[in-house]
Amino acid sequence: MNLSYKWLKEYVDFDLTPETLAEKLTSSGIAVEGITNLSEELSDIVIGEVISCEQHPNADKLSLCKVSDGQGEYPVVCGAINVAKGQKIVFAKIGATLPGDFTIKAAKLRGVDSEGMICSAKELGISSEWLLPEQRDGILVLDTDAPIGSDAIAYLDLDDYVMELDLTPDRGDCLSLINVARQVAAITGSRVRFPDIAFNEVITESDKGIDIKIEAPEDCPRYVGKIVENIQVGPSPFWVQNKLRNAGIRPISNVVDVTNYVLLELGQPLHAFDYEQLQGQQIIVRRSKKGETIVTLDEQERTLDDTMLLICDAARPVAIAGVMGAENSEVTEKTQTVLIESAYFNPVSVRKTSTKLGLRSEASARFEKGINYEQTKVAAQRAAQLLSEISSAIPHESETDVYPNPIERARVSLRFTKVNQLLGTSLTNEEIKDILKSLQLEMVEDNGDSVIFQIPAFRPDLRIEEDLIEEVASIFGLENIPVTLPYGDTHKGARNTEQKIRTRIFEVLKAAGANEIITYSFINRNHLDKILLPENDLRRNVVEVLNPLSEEQGVMRTTLIPGILDNALRNHNRKSENLLTFEVGKVYYKNGFPEKTELPEEEMKLSVFGRGRMAGDWKNKAEEIDFYYIKGMIDALFSSLKINDIEYVPANDSGEYHPGRCAKILLGGTFIGYIGELNPKVADNYSLSGRNYMAELHLDTIITSCEEKISYRYLPKYPGMNRDLAILIDDQIRAGQIVETIEKTGGELLRNVEVFDLYQGAQIPEGKKSIAFSLQFQAEDRTLTDDEVSIIIEKIKQVLEETFAAKLRD
């Protein structure tokens, strides 16, 4: 909401600059987001009169005017079509400044002297958004009673500051000047001035009447109707237009403008019906019927359900209560009598209706936050008064006020100790009372240690003790609350085991040279096809988002692979060819949801991805990232987590991997994920050229089997012995099988087996490979002898020959 600094001063006296006011309001809970000085670039602009207006001798489209500022007369050449003799206009004399760093100078236009400029609204910095249609082109023509020679900036209320309020949902009361004024009064110790309501002339007897019937009193506790006759619909005077414009509401016509004026001034939304269009001199407030339709003022046909509240005449709906009026009873140029509606609608009902219809208005924004239920009648009177002031309108003397069950003001009790206990302050009882009284809360009971306050009708947000404590804190100033730390028993803070392990995983992968990425938890469903998941894959069991921003974020991911591949492509497109990335994040499975479980299942996963080369330099060529590189990283991770029981089993059952270059990873026999080369078809689907490697692991399983305790193993006392063993063997036999056989045969003394060479090519027969192992022998209690070890080696050789037809190489 835009708050006019100048207009606010009509309701409360204060001696604060706009900046200081903004600061004080902000620190009391009414946040001011920004201040605009409307006259920042304007100076020396006065109201003038066009004394004469003739055709320019040398230009068809220009007029030669004489403008008076009450003291002198100035020749002015004007290009506007609408300029005419007798008009009151905005006159920028020589030396005046206008927006855009524009200073008026004496000029000769087509041979004729021009000593000033007649301004258009645009030249004054007023956007056409805030203008009547006839003001949008040409010069701005002022009201005929505009005083010649006086300051046009003040006349147009451009000597104002617009303060942009960023109100929290509980402070809907400050969507009105009068309630902001109340807040200012509380801060400054000043008093609020409520506008005087008086009428010069009223109609006491008329055949025009209104009968109001509320059929849904819960949705509409109060409804006031006031009739105003003898209307001539037309533009409002400038002082009304200016105020609306500065508040960010477009002036339309005097009737509509007055309803908006009161909306801004008192926070009471009003609606004006064309009385002659209402049938049967009747207003009925009732719930709509399912499927009932209404054409609203914005020319849209709206279909209603049976929860919405309607304002109807004897025959048909004429407004959606609190939201928008209907076209059928709209005020037009021909309107002569209006019925002003001022009502209090149930906030929840208005909110539900406007949400369902997707229709928000200045009115609904106020109703749904709860307005002042005691101001309903006054607001209708105020509108009638303003209408009669700015036009020929004459209001009826009385109004119809239907208020079957008057709402009682809330009472809230407050314990003084609670205030200081919750805030950490040491305010006296008197100080607390004074603050609340300054907010116009009425103390109705004083019990020494506690008090009961009656809450004024304009503060529906104050309901419980804590609400009052908040008011005390805001007015006392949060900056005045001391700074302390909690005392009493404290625990030692810490990460739990799972969190510690996760932290370690981050550290290990970072140390291995990988960059952590974070991608969105939602993905496009088509990724599941792009990564070639089989139809029956569990990862197709996705949780769908009902209202995604786009298909790109349509389902919750069941795998981290799409995110990491999309990211690889993005980096590839930005010429980052060498990538080593990882992500730790949740995936989501539908499983029994929503039939059997309250929520979908969530699981933490880890993905690792690599392509291109590792670091290289002038001395060592960069190593290409391959399957074994990623496997090495995963092994390093397990080793740092003290997980030993890991097995890699060849796999070809997961579509996203190369069928010949993929392994299932088992931890103690339990499946924990896949590692492999990205299936070239999938790579193609993601436009990722070259070879790509990745792994995806179930982190939860890893974390539960992770041994946090490190148990030290004694260093051997006796020297061990190393032997190498090279064999020629069928290409199809996997290193893992051979190592396993060697380990089994080697027995206790064989401490470790490592592959140290693999060779295929020249001198090796087709379909064979040469593979070499380094065997480490060690006894705990003695120095091993050559003979002992040789016996074991011989046995291993024999078993390898028998099992794999391996041939020994020297």
Partner: protein
């Protein structure tokens, strides 16, 4: 013989004044002092010397040998030094060539910021709580004093899975879950970091982002304690000169509520473009936990009081590292990531 000894001494000394390498020196040493060397040869003649002269000559011979050995040793050291010097000269390398490249990994700035915040709060006695990202309406809204049709639900446009289940819009539901799990025990001091989701996607909003929520429940928890904890956090995170400012605000789950600003990390509070000349930057929302929320969590608001706060991790990370574009976090450009 005496003369012979003197001669060999003088001769050797003279020869040694010339340049040798260590091999040549060794050869010379053998030639003079070796088993078949010149000195030994002379000494073999000792038998021919008269009995009276023998001790005198013997002593002289020893003297000459010791002296020569000494001279050889000195010369040897000299040569060794020289040779080492030459060797070191030859081994000079170009130290300006770049060092061996090591691939440097990185932790995402969001994770890094969360970890740092965690460490600060752990130091203040907090534990770290986590919870599901897909939540029920009850935990995400209702138990946080946000009943259906509450206007404040507008503040958070949500992604729904079913009408009753949604992607959590804040990490606050973890508070409720932790409270219920704790079964009214005090003190409860937790922070809850994690991903949250809102239907917003533009230059300053990401549909997925991160929050850290904090909650402290105990007897006699005061708003002044909230100020103390947040001031400590701000100083640990952004520097010891930090100041904080609380402004009244509204959150359905706290009453009183306050937005918290820190002095601008760019200008130190003098006013600049980043802080819109105010000297302050808003970093989090906070307040005293609403009695309804305490009740939902199984605590009696007459027995205990509590404060809570919640901050956007992206915002903190942007301020901490001077990142000016939110989207960088989710583009995961390795050139960006590698800087952390």
């Amino acid at each position: 013989m005496r003369q012979q000894l003197e001669e060999i001494k003088e001769k050797t000394k003279k020869v040694l004044e010339e340049n040798f390498n260590s091999e040549e020196l060794n050869d010379l040493k053998v030639k003079i002092l070796g088993k078949k060397g010149e000195l030994t040869t002379i000494l073999k003649e000792m038998g021919k010397v008269s009995a009276e002269e023998r001790p005198v000559i013997g002593q002289l011979a020893n003297q000459v040998r010791d002296e020569l050995q000494q001279v050889f040793a000195e010369k040897q050291q000299e040569i060794k030094n020289k040779e080492l010097e030459n060797k070191l000269k030859e081994e000079t390398i170009d130290v300006t060539l770049p060092g061996r490249e090591m691939k440097k990994g990185s932790i995402h700035p969001i994770t890094k910021t969360i970890m740092e915040a965690e460490d600060i709060f752990i130091g203040l006695g907090f534990e770290i709580a986590e919870g599901p990202e897909i939540e029920t309406d009850f935990y995400n809204f209702e138990a946080l004093n946000l009943p259906k049709d509450h206007p404040a639900r507008d503040m958070q446009d949500s992604f729904y899975i079913t009408p009753e289940v949604l992607l959590r819009t804040h990490t606050s539901p973890v508070q409720i879950r932790s409270m219920i799990e704790k079964k009214s025990e005090i003190p409860l001091k937790i922070i809850c970091p994690g991903k949250v989701y809102r239907r917003d996607d533009d230059a300053t909003h990401s549909p997925m982002f991160h929050q850290i929520e904090g909650l402290v429940i105990d007897k006699n928890i005061r708003m002044s304690d909230l100020k103390g904890v947040l001031l400590t956090f701000a100083r640990e995170m952004f520097g010891t000169e930090q100041k904080i400012r609380l402004r009244p605000s509204f959150f359905p789950f706290t009453e009183p509520s306050a937005e918290v600003d820190i002095s601008c990390v760019m200008c130190g509070g003098k006013g600049c473009r980043v802080c819109k000349q105010t000297g302050w930057l808003e970093i989090l929302g906070s307040g005293m936990v609403h009695p309804n929320v305490l009740r939902y969590g199984g605590y009696d608001p007459e027995e205990v009081s509590a404060f809570a706060f919640g901050m956007g991790v992206e915002r903190i990370a942007m301020l901490k590292y001077g990142i000016n574009d939110l989207r960088l976090f989710y583009e995961n450009d390795v050139r960006f990531l590698s800087q952390f």
